[in-house]
């Protein structure tokens, strides 16, 4: 209760500061629109269904891309952590590729998938996968070896050890890596929606992009707020439960 109050007051203060800046007319109102006009944009976009529609489209893409990124990245990260040869090949590749901006993947995506959801997905996955691999790799390599040793003497072998011991033992890292992966996925998707135009669905990235194209900063800021909001929601729903489970079990973070 008290916590939400702090948060509420903080964001109310931010909003107030914004209003003050707007009224002081320090910046061109085109670039820094009033909170009211952003609110109006959001309200209208909600009413005519644009916002819900594109949010839905974007969330579908995001989830799919993210889930694929995680589902492939976590096991691959465990492989790179476990096997020298994998680390020297895939691990090195991941290190190199994670710095590439999403736009680099666009030509390849179009080449392989044409202008389809597949291309979009490819860009998102490429933007997420490598960082998830690296975070998992880090996590696994930081696992206290005593856990693995204990498990092995109890007869735990390969897959069982990975799933039942190494995974949970590196969970704090993996969750932290998954949070970052989420951010990577978002950003890649925004880029993908800007660079890969497809006809099956108009997402938040496109709204953001066209807002910018049309110099409609109320739209740009409105969509930014939506992205921020979804980010917070995702944290509450996807990551917070894991984190509090971890902290309760491990006895960390009182």
């Amino acid at each position: 209760m008290k916590r939400s109050l702090t948060a509420f007051l903080f964001f109310a203060a931010l909003l107030a500061a914004w209003q003050v800046v707007f009224q002081a007319k320090v910046w061109s109102p085109v670039l820094a629109p009033s909170p009211a006009s952003v609110g109006r944009y959001l309200w209208n976009a909600l009413r005519d269904g644009t916002l819900e529609g594109s949010t839905l489209v974007t969330m579908k893409r995001l989830f799919l891309g993210y889930v694929i990124g995680i589902a492939a990245g976590v096991p691959l990260g465990m492989l790179t952590a476990q096997f020298r040869a994998m680390r020297d090949t895939l691990g090195v590749l991941a290190l190199g590729l994670q710095g590439l901006p999403s736009v680099c993947w666009v030509p390849l995506a179009l080449l392989w998938f044409g202008q389809s959801e597949g291309a979009m997905l490819f860009v998102v996955v490429m933007g997420t996968l490598w960082s998830v691999i690296l975070a998992t790799d880090s996590g696994v390599r930081n696992v206290n070896p005593i856990y693995v040793r204990a498990a092995r003497t109890m007869g735990s072998r390969r897959l069982h050890t990975w799933v039942m011991v190494i995974m949970p033992a590196s969970l704090p890292f993996i969750v932290s890596g998954m949070k970052q992966g989420w951010a990577f996925a978002w950003r890649s998707l925004m880029a993908a929606e800007i660079f890969v135009t497809i006809l099956t669905g108009f997402g938040l990235g496109q709204l953001l992009h066209y807002g910018r194209e049309l110099n409609a900063m109320d739209q740009v800021i409105g969509i930014m707020l939506v992205i921020v909001f979804i980010g917070l929601l995702a944290d509450k729903v996807l990551f917070s439960p894991w984190e509090s489970f971890l902290h309760r079990r491990w006895g960390t973070d009182k």
Binding site: S28, L110, L199, N215
Partner: protein
């Protein structure tokens, strides 16, 4: 004390005046500096696209810029007519509808069910494409209709067109030439009279240094005339300017063939812009347009 004039343009053949201005500045014989007087320095900014240029105008970090009519219109309307003015025209033509050379598409009716790419959602060519297709009696919606209009970045168009994943492209030079030369395209339709580039100024500049804006415009008009008189020389400067901007040699042949499809004029034809507005509104863009009179007034 020196006054700094900050001018934007895109490294694109259709912005020849900007490229020549920046290239001559780079070479130390600045066309505009020579005509603006010794106390003025010109800084040239090569923007990636219209929105960036317009953001810079709004943020007060450039004073003048070459830009396409649609971003200029958007910026004018968005600011309620308060922040930018069009000073002069710069280039016309250069846009075309390209279809495969194999004769798949011979008549407007053949576009039914096809995919037509445009450079950007809501940009000049996109609006033109939608308006033209509508005029041919097709039903166009955002995600479908009788013909699929697919906004696709220029470089990707080339790839998708050559691999047959899109059937036609409505775009602007130098991409029209590249589609012809590299991807087996054939020009189906041209609109030589359509404005491609304008010279716009921020209202702030007009307020603070009206004389400077006037002098810059005059220099621009003079440069346009010079370009029309000295085609080969102008093309050479444009070619080396593009190379310098992009840090990669630009093929002279491309400038050559693009040039043929455009012409440079400093004349302002407000009725052309009004036509653009009408087209845009006809296909559902620019819902709350305002009177354009102040846009061409040249006054703050």
């Amino acid at each position: 004390e020196k006054i700094v004039l900050r001018v934007g343009y895109f490294p694109n053949v259709t912005h020849a005046q900007g490229i020549i201005g920046s290239q001559t500045t780079r070479e130390g014989r600045g066309w505009f500096e020579e005509r603006l007087g010794g106390d003025v320095t010109v800084q040239w900014f090569a923007f990636n696209a219209g929105p960036s240029a317009m953001e810079a105008i709004f943020a007060g970090s450039v004073d003048l810029t070459y830009v396409g009519p649609n971003p200029a219109l958007n910026a004018y309307i968005r600011s309620g007519g308060d922040e930018i003015r069009v000073l002069a025209g710069a280039a016309e033509g250069g846009a075309a509808l390209v279809v495969p050379a194999d004769g798949r598409i011979k008549a407007p009716a053949d576009f039914r069910g096809r995919k037509v790419a445009t450079p950007q959602f809501g940009n000049t060519q996109d609006v033109a494409a939608r308006a033209w297709l509508k005029k041919q009696g097709f039903k166009i919606t955002q995600g479908g209709g009788d013909v699929f209009v697919v906004p696709t970045a220029n470089p990707d168009q080339l790839a998708l067109f050559s691999s047959g994943q899109i059937d036609a492209v409505w775009t602007v030079e130098p991409w029209v030439s590249r589609l012809e030369q590299e991807a087996g395209g054939k020009v189906f339709l041209e609109q030589p009279e359509v404005v491609t580039t304008l010279l716009v100024s921020s209202v702030r500049l007009l307020k603070q240094h009206p004389d400077l804006a006037r002098k810059f415009r005059a220099a621009h008009v003079e440069l346009t005339a010079w370009i029309n008189a000295h085609g080969a020389e102008a093309r050479a400067i444009v070619c080396s300017g593009l190379g310098a901007d992009m840090h990669r040699p630009f093929p002279p042949g491309l400038v050559e063939s693009a040039w043929r499809r455009m012409h440079f004029t400093a004349d302002l034809k407000p009725e052309q812009i009004a036509g653009v507005v009408k087209d845009a509104q006809g296909v559902g863009f620019l819902p709350n347009a305002i009177p354009l009179d102040r846009m061409f007034s040249g006054e703050p």
